[in-house]
């Protein structure tokens, strides 16, 4: 059999193992190892396995992931995220669907300190779902909103997906973060409009909340001052060139810790629990990356990526159509695969085409994030939907999936806007030298 055929069999077996419930990280590593052993020799494959694991686990560029995840879990444990939500609620609760709009905005706010969609969804789900239930908000709307708005976590900086993308294509992570700001705001706006339209069409979905006085509004706002400072320090520090991404994450985590201690929100137990929670999430992400690296080494010696890239690159169609094909491939892939794993596996394959066609690296990163956001909420594999299901076990899965469809439409519209107006992504980074 030719290396290409072996490679195709490898991909099919990997998808099969995914389907049969093997954790995606292990399935990629396992198939990658077996494939490499078959195409090269078992001895080298075994050595490469050990090298890959040790090198990825001790990779300095990857250390940014555990640091930002830790910042997110400390921010949650320190009550920073709850206060962000409370402030949004105080300002917007009186609106029809105001609580849902507040949730979208709170997600956007939390997204500004947390780089992961599932962490954003989990955090906001824990805070917002009980509140929405209390006020008789429609549960399909509520869960769908949080699952979808949680995806803002990877578009509004910091973003684990953009970090991984930046490492894979050797692009400045700082610039990628800045590129995510305007599209992130646009998408937040699109989600707000979606909620408003839904509630306007069917008022029973979301009864208005109590009105608050100006002094209540202002008092609640003082509660998020330290969150704003933390954001300015970590992201501003990145923006102004004080820190590397890893350092920004560590300073952010340290800052959240100090806020928690200062407000007496953290005791030893909460502190350790938050640390462990972050550690487990970081472990999951780094295992996926390592699995993808092992699988990638197998793919590299099958020559498939190069052939596939040649094929798509040689399609006799307009570059924008090629981009359309690429986006569609990601969209389909997102049905079945975790967005992060999908990106790690495919970017090295598709990135040369993107370069070849002279698309902007940073713009493409933002597009990839938008498509990845669709992937985490679309059935059958929608990680965010599972996270919400974990928080609200009484809501049937199909209801949550039904709830996300209007938001999926909003995501698609924003993606199309970005394809035709790339400046939304590229303008801000162009200001940074």
């Amino acid at each position: 059999m030719s290396p290409i055929e072996i490679g195709i069999i490898g991909i099919v077996v990997m998808l099969l193992l995914f389907l049969l419930g093997m954790p995606v990280a292990f399935a990629m590593g396992f198939v990658g190892f077996i494939g490499f052993a078959y195409l090269a020799d078992p001895g080298p494959a075994l050595s490469l396995l050990a090298q890959d694991i040790f090198n990825e686990f001790s990779s300095y560029p990857l250390s940014v992931i555990p640091m930002f995840i830790l910042m997110g879990t400390f921010a949650f444990a320190s009550g920073i995220s709850q206060r962000l939500y409370y402030t949004s609620y105080t300002w917007l609760g009186w609106l029809r669907g105001g609580l849902t709009i507040a949730t979208v905005l709170a997600c956007a706010g939390f997204a500004a300190i947390c780089g992961s969609t599932s962490a954003t969804a989990a955090t906001m789900g824990k805070i917002a779902l009980p509140e929405m239930k209390k006020y008789d908000y429609d549960i399909t709307l509520a869960t769908g909103t949080i699952a979808s708005a949680g995806t803002l976590g990877i578009l509004i900086p910091p973003s684990t997906v953009l970090i991984v993308y930046g490492i894979l294509v050797e692009e400045s992570i700082g610039k990628l973060f800045i590129a995510g700001i305007l599209p992130g705001l646009l998408l937040s706006l699109a989600f707000v409009v979606t909620v408003a339209l839904l509630c306007w069409r069917n008022p029973r979905l979301a009864p208005p909340g109590p009105s608050t006085t100006w002094s209540q509004k202002l008092r609640s706002t003082t509660g998020i001052i330290e969150a704003v400072i933390l954001f300015l320090l970590a992201i501003g520090g990145l923006f102004l060139g004080w820190f590397s991404p890893t350092q920004a994450g560590a300073i952010g985590a340290g800052g959240a810790l100090i806020i928690g201690l200062g407000r007496k929100q953290l005791n030893w137990k909460k502190f350790f629990d938050a640390g462990k929670d972050g550690l487990r999430t970081a472990c999951m992400v780094l295992f996926i990356i390592t699995g993808a690296v092992i699988f990638g080494h197998f793919m590299a010696i099958t020559t498939i990526p190069f052939k596939l890239a040649e094929w798509i690159g040689g399609l006799p169609i307009h570059p924008l159509a090629v981009m359309g094909v690429l986006i569609f491939i990601y969209f389909l892939g997102g049905f079945f695969m975790d967005s992060m794993a999908l990106i790690v596996v495919t970017i090295p394959i598709f990135f040369p085409i993107v370069k070849e066609l002279h698309f902007d690296t940073i713009w493409f990163g933002v597009i990839i994030v938008l498509v990845a956001e669709m992937g985490v909420i679309t059935p059958p594999v929608g990680v965010n939907v599972f996270v919400i299901k974990g928080i609200a076990p009484e809501v049937p899965l199909e209801n949550i999936f039904r709830g996300i469809f209007p938001f999926l439409a909003a995501l698609i519209i924003v993606t199309i806007i970005l394809v035709f107006v790339p400046q939304i992504a590229t303008y801000l980074p162009s200001l940074v030298k």
Partner: protein, 165 residues
Amino acid sequence: MGFLEKFNRFNRRISSWFEWVGLMGLLLMMFITCIDVIGAKLFLKPVLGAIDIVMLSQAVAISFVAASALLLGRHVHVEFFVVLLPKRVRAVVDSVVLIFGLGFFILIVWRLAILGSYFRSGAEVSASARIPLFPFAYGVAAASIPVCLIFIHDLINAILRVVKK
């Protein structure tokens, strides 16, 4: 209490101990980076070997929490398909997947131990702080042992589900 239950409790306890080791690694990453940044920005006194320490602490952090993350089902996996299968078929599928996972992690334990010996015989050290690398490769190997134990437990469990009337 049956053997399987005892085995499970043992796995939980050892995973939880290992998780504490991992947590210390993660916190060390954060603290050393903060000290390095503050030292370098405010006092012109960076920490020699800060990057080495972050890298090696990360290897400890990630490998030592792997067992606990597995027990808690934190590794992303696809569920929708297997839940559609009849119980017996599902037990067979689980057994096969668990055998692959177990085999994979046995290889990891074995080869990281070998990598550790290779680092030791070659006297390889980290690039600035000159910390020997071999204990960390041995550490990743050791941290993968409870993962194997968890797979063995789940495998026995799955096989029992296959043969059960």
